[in-house]
């Protein structure tokens, strides 16, 4: 079995009060006038503590983005392509950094290959309103980036079975729903 390693340069969050806040936030910030106070009330934290922790997590880079999380599909972006490419290991980081800058690429990751079934190691997500337009944009992007000659595949999502927030937070809350 493939060894699963943590992404580089990251340390897991360990402060129990931060973890409790992360778990409570999973359901979304309350849509109330004083949402941080209301969230804190469920955790035994003051509004100031909630705000202070969220600011510290944001400034420290643990929270990469805080705000509205939109469902692409409901916003009309129904053509959702996962582009996967088999890039030689010594080129993958440079290729990933360039692809990430492409307009239309919303996520760009290097992942472990799963040989022999799955040779691809670079992933880019591209969203659009029309499948043919997205397909053409992807091929154009791969050509411009000098990646079109590498083994690659474009996997469009054809049905969504589930999309929710992640199950982060405290293990005791992780009983099967």
């Amino acid at each position: 079995m493939t060894e699963i390693t943590a992404p580089r340069d990251t340390a897991p969050l360990t402060d129990p009060r931060d973890l409790a806040l992360v778990a409570e936030l999973r359901g979304g910030l309350p849509l109330t006038s004083r949402p941080y106070a209301d969230l804190g009330a469920r955790l035994g934290m003051s509004e100031a503590e909630v705000l202070g922790r969220l600011k510290a997590l944001t400034e420290g880079g643990v929270i990469r983005r805080f705000g509205a999380i939109v469902r692409h599909h409901e916003a009309g972006y129904t053509a959702n392509a996962m582009v996967v490419i088999d890039v030689p290991d010594d080129r993958v980081a440079a290729a990933g950094r360039l692809l990430a800058l492409e307009e239309g690429v919303t996520l760009c990751y290097r992942r472990v290959r799963a040989l022999p079934d799955w040779p691809y190691n670079l992933y880019a997500m591209v969203h659009g309103r029309d499948r043919a337009v997205v397909q053409a944009a992807v091929e154009d992007m791969l050509r411009r980036q000098g990646l079109a000659g590498l083994p690659h595949a474009v996997l469009f999502s054809t049905r969504r079975f589930k999309q929710t927030g992640g199950r982060y937070g405290r293990p005791q809350q992780e009983a099967r729903a």
Partner: protein, 150 residues
């Protein structure tokens, strides 16, 4: 004339980044849009009911909160519905999509610990009776800047 759709688009684009970390964030957004706090709250509630808004929340740096793994299954067509439902039934599965490829079921397992994540992957493998591709992240090249709506 500004329509409700235009207003929602402006509100979402404004609130995907730099969401106010101040005691009354919806009032702060409302002030920037020239409306009342009530209008902003009602708009968000409606968007959430309609499914456009998943939530107001945080996107974490990969690896910093919990352990996750992209995974895939190659499911025979006549079993896809049942296997997809089994996979979705795990609380630790937060994305589950069909994609047009021989590896046709793609999902993300996110758990509080590596041990729990790997246990869920094994359970799915056993219940499906099919090998699961495990595709953990090595490196992230993108800053999640949200999603510009137009």
């Amino acid at each position: 004339m500004q329509t409700a759709y235009d207003f929602d688009t402006r509100l979402l684009n404004l609130s995907q980044h730099d969401f106010p970390l101040t005691p009354r964030p919806y009032a702060a957004l409302a002030a920037r849009l020239g409306v009342t706090e009530r209008v902003v709250l009602d708009a968000f509630r409606l968007m959430r009911e309609e499914g456009l808004l998943s939530r107001i929340g945080a996107v974490y740096r990969p690896g910093s909160v919990g352990a996750s793994c992209l995974a895939a299954l190659k499911v025979p067509e006549d079993r896809l519905e049942a296997v997809a439902a089994m996979v979705s039934g795990f609380a630790e599965v937060n994305h589950n999509y069909r994609r047009d490829h021989a590896w046709n079921l793609w999902f993300v397992v996110t758990a509080p610990s590596v041990a729990r994540r790997d246990a869920v992957l094994l359970l799915i493998e056993e219940e499906a009776g099919l090998p699961v591709l495990r595709l953990p992240m090595v490196e992230d090249y993108h800053l999640d800047l949200g999603f510009a709506l137009s």
